[in-house]
């Protein structure tokens, strides 16, 4: 399914230049690291190290490309449960990120404020409106010389069906908020294919109805994603309002480690619909442009393996949080009732 092109974003210089050769090689390293970490996490689950995981296999280009287009010093990312690759690209502490999959803390242990990466979000469509609110806050704060901070909301094709996503797009367009709605259309919402989910066939096509520009891009082409994201972010940063980016990609793995895709699609389908591996595609680009050779890839892939192993060690070492933390973070200012419950819990469960 080759993505139909759609591009209503007015041509405009992106803030950032196209990636230079060093950045291109960095992009490959990121892709490789993310691929390695993702497949490792699936293995960790099989080995019993973590109870579950939501693989992003096949979406590496979309996620690394999107993350690369974001300025992590002043933009803010609102992820779902599948944005491991964005987190990695933005430099989120990956051991702390993985803690949520180890069932240690729902939102993850990483610091969302320092990371500019909101807590892990399990409600489909739950955080899209937050991006709009955060972004409107940037407008209220007023632009600096180089423009506004941009809220980047991640959502899937399935999420696009939620009422909240519509409300978010309408609010953003009415408020002219600096938001990028970054849709990963990966063909599936668990077992439901996009055709049975997204009436009209494209989330980007909805943007026009809100008077918003949109770009529909080949989500398995990392450079195309970088460019689309940079352009969208630049548009929002300049105070010109929200943009939809729809990256057409494919969820190559199961929905999660407890899913069984064999019940709703064949391996044959996967092969045809998945298309060429986004990493292979980018390898060809680098080779063709003479920017990398086999030894570069070998080194990058080995580095990715090392990095994944380091993260694994960190995840292994992660201890459960003390039960008392259940009570500690409910409020900034606790209440007498909660205090009494915490005391009772301590007496009965910690026998103190």
């Amino acid at each position: 399914m080759a993505p139909r092109a759609l591009d209503t974003l007015p041509p405009r210089q992106a803030d950032a230049a196209a990636p230079d050769p060093d950045q291109l090689r960095d992009l490959y390293r990121l892709l490789s690291n993310v691929r390695q970490l993702d497949t490792s996490a699936v293995a960790w689950q099989r080995q019993g190290l973590i109870p579950g995981y939501a693989p992003m296999l096949g979406q590496e280009a979309a996620q690394v490309g999107a993350g690369f287009g974001v300025d992590k010093t002043r933009d803010f990312v609102f992820p779902t449960y599948r944005e491991m690759g964005v987190a990695y690209t933005l430099g989120v502490n990956m051991v702390e990120y993985m803690s949520t999959h180890k069932a240690i803390w729902h939102g993850g242990l990483y610091d969302p404020v320092a990371s500019h990466f909101a807590p892990f979000q399990a409600v489909v469509g739950g955080s899209v409106l937050h991006a709009v609110g955060w972004a409107h806050g940037q407008t209220l704060n007023g632009a600096s010389a180089d423009g506004l901070g941009v809220g980047v909301a991640f959502l899937g094709d399935g999420a696009s069906s939620q009422g909240d996503v519509h409300e978010a797009m309408n609010f953003a367009a009415i408020l002219k908020a600096p938001v990028v709605f970054f849709v990963q259309n990966n063909g599936w919402a668990i077992s439901v294919p996009t055709e049975q989910q997204v009436a009209g066939g494209s989330v980007a096509a909805r943007a026009a109805g809100y008077g918003m520009p949109a770009v529909r891009v080949d989500g398995n082409d990392v450079l195309a994603v970088v460019e689309a994201t940079q352009r969208a972010v630049a548009h929002a940063r300049a105070g010109l309002g929200p943009v939809v980016v729809e990256a057409m990609t494919y969820r190559r793995g199961p929905h999660s480690t407890s899913d069984d895709p064999g019940r709703y699609r064949t391996l044959e389908d996967e092969k045809i619909d998945g298309g060429e591996d986004p990493l292979n595609r980018f390898r060809s680009v680098l080779l063709t442009q003479g920017l990398a050779d086999a030894s570069f890839f070998a080194e990058a892939d080995a580095g990715a393996q090392t990095r994944a192993d380091e993260i694994r060690d960190g995840v292994v070492a992660l201890d459960s949080r003390p039960g008392s933390e259940m009570f500690d973070f409910v409020f900034q200012e606790s209440t007498p009732t909660l205090g009494a419950q915490a005391r009772q819990w301590r007496e009965e469960s910690e026998h103190v």
């Binding site: 069906s161 909240d164 009965e348």
Partner: protein, 344 residues
């Protein structure tokens, strides 16, 4: 657990099938679709996949994609569509995939589903059976372990049931689906996979499917529970019995309407009560139970009704789940408190 205690009349001996609750519900759904051609099943991933818990497994194949279908990912949409289908004379049996994802549908449930019969003065009945895999205990991600019973039970116009074992799930769902009013059917997902004997024939006496059941008789105190907490309370009763303490376990089964007479009958005998639930403490359904029992058994109660519940904290991540959900220790502490209570 004897059949008499399950409230079901003795019938000609039928071989018991060993079924998990997930299988028992699947079987009940198949029979409902078979006997009622207005019945429709729909929701997220219930069709081709057969549901994330396989509760609707095979039903689309058997009954076709008109009767069993996947919807877009939008819970308000699912409930609103169900209401319209009921207005058109169908009997929708929608699923919300997990408890925590019922919140987006709360507006349709409260302002529309629960009120359409009332608003239309009985002309637009809402025979809608909403299945919600519910409660915690499976180390799942955030929002997959919620207890919404006190929210639903508070809403005029809704009925709410929760089965505790496969036998009950099978009959209770068929019964709920036969009712001409909206029923929220809260399936304890932690119990989906435990097998037990199911007597398919035992559904003749409808009355036996109303109200609560005594899951284990006892005389020193009554443990009141529903869903997955029933089997935990049975374990507690087993342990307490070793110390000579005979705990009665009352399986509430219907969370709205609440079997006030059944509660009063049990506690006025045992004179002590502990209500156990997973949901947060404040304004949980345990408060209603405690208030009812404190009133109906005012003269006989020998100790304040104990509530052993989830804490007033967001449902925690898997590692802390056992600290949050009432565990055997915490329930035993509650039992101890009611048994040792002395008027000051």
């Amino acid at each position: 657990m004897s059949e008499v205690l399950e409230g079901v009349r003795e019938t000609a001996p039928t071989p018991l099938l060993q079924l998990s609750m997930q299988q028992a519900i699947n079987r009940a759904l198949g029979e409902i679709l078979e006997s009622d051609d207005r019945a429709l099943i729909f929701g997220e991933d219930v069709g081709v996949l057969g549901g994330v818990f396989r509760v609707t497994d095979g039903l689309q194949q058997r009954f076709g994609a008109n009767r069993v279908f996947d919807t877009p990912l939008a819970e308000s949409g699912i409930l609103g569509t169900a209401i319209g289908l009921a207005m058109a004379g169908f009997h929708p049996i929608p699923e919300v995939q997990f408890d925590g994802f019922a919140y987006p549908a709360v507006n349709q449930i409260i302002t529309q589903l629960a009120r359409m019969n009332y608003r239309s003065r009985g002309r637009l009945p809402m025979q809608v059976t909403l299945r919600v895999p519910s409660f915690g205990g499976i180390r799942a991600p955030e929002h997959h372990g919620e207890s919404l019973e006190s929210l639903f039970a508070h809403v005029p116009g809704l009925k709410v049931a929760s089965p505790s074992n496969p036998q009950q799930a099978y009959h209770l769902l068929k019964h709920a689906a036969s009712m001409p009013d909206p029923v929220i059917f809260m399936e304890p997902k932690a119990r989906y996979w435990n097998k037990a004997g199911v007597n398919l024939a035992a559904d003749e006496d409808t009355a036996s499917l109303e109200g609560s059941v005594i899951a284990r008789p006892g005389k020193h105190a009554t443990l009141i529970a529903w869903g997955a907490m029933v089997s935990r309370c049975l374990q507690v009763a087993e342990l307490a019995a070793e110390d000579g303490i005979e705990l009665e376990v009352l399986d509430l089964r219907w969370l709205k309407p609440i079997d006030e007479a059944g509660l009063a009958a049990s506690v006025s005998r045992t004179r002590r009560a502990i209500v156990v639930h997973e949901g947060p403490h404040t304004a949980g359904l345990g408060a209603e139970i405690a208030a009812l029992v404190s009133q109906s058994c005012f003269d006989t109660l020998r100790a304040p009704v104990e509530r052993v519940t989830g804490f007033d904290v967001p449902y925690p991540s898997g590692d802390l789940e056992d600290e949050y959900i009432p565990n055997i220790d915490r329930i035993l502490f509650g039992v101890q408190r009611v048994l040792e209570y002395r008027r000051g």
